[in-house]
Amino acid sequence: MFGIYITLLTACFLCFLAYKKKLPKYLHFAGWLVGLVIITELFKYSMNGKKSIINPVEHFYQLIEIWLLLMCYYVYNKENKNETIVKAIPFVLIAVSVLYPFISFYIEGINNECTLSFLINSLLLILLSLLFFYNLYVKNTEINILSFGFFWINAGNLVYLCGTFFQMGLYAYILKTNPALAQELKIINHVLNYFLYATYLVAFLCTAKQTS
């Protein structure tokens, strides 16, 4: 399972690198995020379940992930002149930069499971995806939606984050009461991860094809 997952991530990242020049700037952030995911996943795998090392990495990863994705939405919305979102994102960036270390060190503990920042990430990104769909819905655009890369990124984010919201949100709690069940429920996360990075791959491919 892990091999297939890494292969999908690698294919996605290689596709991003191959077509980087043809992709709009906002998709570069999504591409680098895939690169970061590869490194994080390989590192976690090599640690062979050592929670004292994996958990701090996970806390750190959540902060970089939200930074990259917020930058992605910032550049996209700036290009499309969505002033309200453009004005709001820098404040959100500052807020998460202050809040996440505080959560990690003082509320959850850096060596414990990372739940709160995951939930905040999910809520922020679901909101941004829904705003993206709403703006595209109300604007009279002439784009072919299925060959629009950012649509696939948002579709992937929305389904993944909605799908993993409960499982990841309650993961730390279940892990304490029933570790076996917590591991079994991780299948939801794994399946949705395949979907998420498949949509990223489609996004890079169809954007590159459209601009070539």
Binding site: L136, C162, L181
Partner: protein
């Protein structure tokens, strides 16, 4: 144990409901956008059909009425007696020349608007005629390049391409101060057809004149191109002329000709 079952139910139900919600939002969005596009395409098609019909009516009106009346006026001019004096004779002669030019120009105009005429001529001959008309003004040098292995296009597509060229030439004549205008029609079997209209005029900044932002002429070209599933692109910069490209991808409606 009881609380564990409750949590499991919450997770599974929550995951299912939220995933379903996400999928429903996306499906609703795709369907809505697709319907919007179909509706827009139909509207555009109807608008162009009405436009085409109007042009056809005007063309027939010019040919059958105005053209006939002017020909009659020309005939009447020839019936004047020859002993009217040199000055009057010269004026009559000049009037006749002007009238002949007006009749010829009207005939050209009528032909360029007439859908049936363009369809019977075929795209290449129609383009050649269009460029000849420009050349006749003495202000432009024109060229038509046709390359590749020719294939036949459906008449509607040829008509749309021809109207795109007319609109582009109109733009070049009106706004560009160009001296040379070239049309390139490149047939690429398997890859489609590329039509390029190039002028060496003033050019402009496409960022500020993008078809989606300003310019009815460019917007018309963009709309017409999207109606036949062609890709419209524009290359221009200040003082470097303008190139309009229309790329028509191959599909079942292309037929190879020998």
């Amino acid at each position: 144990m009881h609380s564990e079952t409750n949590i499991l139910i919450i997770i599974i139900a929550g995951t299912f409901i939220l995933t379903l919600l996400g999928v429903i939002i996306i499906i609703f969005f795709i369907r809505n956008k697709t319907n919007q596009q179909i509706h827009k395409q139909e509207l555009l098609k109807t608008r162009l059909e009405i436009q085409e019909q109007t042009l056809q009516n005007i063309s027939e009106e010019i040919h059958d009425n105005i053209g006939q009346v002017l020909s009659l006026v020309k005939l009447n001019l020839n019936t004047f007696p020859e002993n009217l004096g040199d000055e009057v004779q010269k004026k009559l002669h000049d009037t006749e020349l002007l009238l002949s030019k007006a009749i010829e120009d009207l005939r050209d105009l009528s032909q360029s608007m007439n859908t049936d005429k363009i369809n019977s001529l075929g795209i290449e001959a129609a383009l050649e005629q269009q460029l000849k008309q420009l050349q006749k003004t003495g202000k432009f040098t024109t060229k038509l390049h046709v390359g590749g292995n020719k294939f036949t296009l459906p008449p509607q597509k040829e008509m749309v391409l021809f109207r795109i060229v007319q609109e582009s030439l109109n733009n070049a004549v009106k706004h560009s101060s160009a001296k040379n205008i070239e049309i390139e029609l490149m047939y690429r079997p398997g890859c489609g057809l590329v039509l390029q209209i190039t002028d060496d005029g003033n050019g402009f900044n496409p960022e500020t004149n993008h078809p989606s932002k300003t310019g009815i002429g460019l917007k018309n070209i963009h709309n017409r191109a999207s109606l036949i599933g062609a890709v419209f692109s524009l290359h221009s910069s200040l003082n470097n002329g303008t190139t309009i490209s229309i790329e028509l991808k191959p599909n079942h409606s292309f037929t190879e000709t020998s």
